[in-house]
């Protein structure tokens, strides 16, 4: 009998839809009101945007292989959110520069990660975890107890509100769709994408086939940092306030989202569509746990167990006995 193969992104999306339909049975949920159900679904996708954008950088470093991972993403989100918040200070005309600033700050941190990993041979996990501490340190210095600033009205208008009164689709979702197409182009239609998968499968053969592995590694981590920076910009545009722990809650789910989407955590195989589906599924799970009034501890346990189950399905290494 032939086994039916469902691709992980489709499976994740399917699971999300089933979970959402089942959640209607919860006592304090939408019940049988279709209108409320649709608005709730839209809201969950809107919330998934932020996780999805942060998971984009994570997708890239994980595809690049060699145990690639970016644990500094959470603290970078906090940092660029604060930078944006303080720099913009309510002025619409400063938003574009703030966006560039967020990307640049993220890219510099990512480049440092890449340099440590490539030149000093520090394992990505340890390097980015260390960097996360350093960035948190910078956040504490900048924050100094409290920061004064304000997001610009145009950011709230573009990110948090629906695109027009007649079409109830939040701007964030539109941004995400465009972003997703760009990510797809990057991964599937550029030489960067081709090389990224190549170094993820096997660094030695990639190098022998003329791929600049060092340069690719640096570029991947820098890009991942920049994408996390973009995530910070979006998050602050949505929340409108900054907290010292703004970004950290996104970190673990961003890795889990990539895993849900079927991207191999050992590298070389994956897609951003998968991470998008994963982001939606994980956001739905977290919001369901919140609706069911589960404490933070239970949410952590569920997330940890989810990742464990996922890597048990997708992440088995070769057996010792061939």
């Amino acid at each position: 009998m032939k086994r039916i193969k469902i691709s992980p992104p489709v499976a994740a999306l399917f699971l999300a839809i089933v979970l959402f339909l089942l959640s209607g049975l919860l006592p304090n949920s939408y019940g049988s009101d279709v209108k409320i159900a649709i608005s709730q679904a839209t809201n969950i996708v809107r919330l998934a945007v932020f996780l999805g954008v942060i998971a984009a950088g994570q997708t890239l470093v994980i595809i690049s292989g060699f145990e690639g991972i970016d644990l500094s993403a959470g603290s970078v989100v906090t940092l660029t959110a604060i930078v944006t918040y303080v720099y913009v200070n309510g002025a619409d005309e400063k938003v574009f520069v703030a966006l560039l600033l967020s990307l640049a700050v993220g890219a510099v941190i990512g480049l440092l990660n890449g340099a440590g990993i490539t030149f000093l041979k520090i394992s990505p996990f340890v390097m980015t975890l260390g960097m996360s501490g350093v960035v948190t340190g910078i956040v504490i210095i900048l924050n100094h107890g409290n920061v004064s600033g304000k997001v610009a009205p145009i950011m709230t208008r573009l990110i948090a509100r629906p695109i027009s009164p007649d079409i109830p689709i939040p701007g964030a979702i539109v941004i995400w769709v465009i972003f997703g197409i760009l990510m797809w182009l990057l991964l599937e239609r550029t030489s960067f994408g081709k090389y990224l998968f190549a170094i993820g499968v096997n660094r030695v053969t990639a190098k022998l086939s003329g791929v600049n592995v060092t340069g690719m590694n640096l570029a991947t981590y820098a890009l991942a940092g920049a994408l996390a920076g973009f995530g910070g910009f979006l998050v602050v545009g949505n929340t409108g306030v900054v907290l010292i722990s703004l970004g950290q809650p996104f970190l673990f789910p961003s890795i889990a989202a990539v895993a849900v989407g079927g991207t191999l955590l050992s590298g070389g195989k994956g897609s951003y569509w998968g991470s998008m589906a994963g982001a939606i599924l994980l956001t739905l799970m977290t919001s369901l746990l919140t609706t069911m009034q589960m404490p933070e501890s239970v949410r952590r346990m569920v997330l940890g167990a989810t990742l464990l189950v996922l890597i048990s399905i997708y992440g088995r290494q070769r057996a010792l006995r061939q």
Binding site: L120, M127, G133, G137, I255, R300, M301, G304, R318, L320
Partner: protein, 322 residues
Amino acid sequence: MKRFTWNKLTSRYPALFALTLLVLSVLINVILQPNMFARDTLNSNMRVFLPMVILAAGQAIVILGGGIDISVGGIVSIINTILATRVGLEGSAETMWQYVAISLLIGILAGAINGFFVAYLRLQPIITTYATSFLFAGVALFILPNPGGGIPTSISEFYRSSIPLGLPLAFYVIAIILLVWGFLRSTRYGNFLFAVGGKAQAAYETAVPVTTIQFSTYVISGLMAAISGIAITMLSGSGNAESGSAMTLNSITAVVIGGTALSGGVGGVAGPMLGAITLGFIQNIISFAHIDTWWETFAKASIIVAALAIPGVINLFRRRRP
């Protein structure tokens, strides 16, 4: 010529680097704290360093065997919260020792969970223990949502100020660990451990029980994390679900500056334990320097990253030389 000898020395005695760094940091400490070798000061330093020394020893075993254990901090937190909630400030010494025994079992169980997924299901160690670290942190938070609880003062007093035969308690614990390690190294288990860490495939082909060895390293690491959790609870006398979260990266850093390679199969346990003591002295220096509180996180994290970078920097210079 002279440098060549240094290279040879560091490759033969991996702990030499940690020792040099230790001597340096002790010297600076002596300048800042002239009475450092007085019995009370020595004791107060060692009792603070001990939990990390124990944790680093366990981490070193896993890393020697070719793995890594990100979940040790989570296990420390679980043990800390269990002791603080189940024994309580008014508890008797008997309940305390009962729960110490239970804690050791829990540590072994947690390690066995890690070992099962990594060794038997053949999942990637980093991502697996990262997932379980989230799971364990959730369990700790579930047991004790808000900091509090405690153990009888008589017990923490015993840990803090007992100096049998004039030497701090910590010395005896360290001596026991070193003795056990010295014994293990000389047995077949020790040889197997280095073989598995060096190249698991080759070890498997020469009939080394790779799976069992890998499994055992996680069990040992879980047990050591439990002992570390007991020590930290006796030190602080209170419970906090976040007590272990910062300890994971420090334990890995201690292993790295202790001259044990993260790639596995090279190094020992004495070096990482020295590394943990060195880290403790370096953190002492930071607190003596009376820097602004806002800068403390940044300073500590930067030193961790710098310490992680040192072996890489040394290698970089080595390769440059003809």
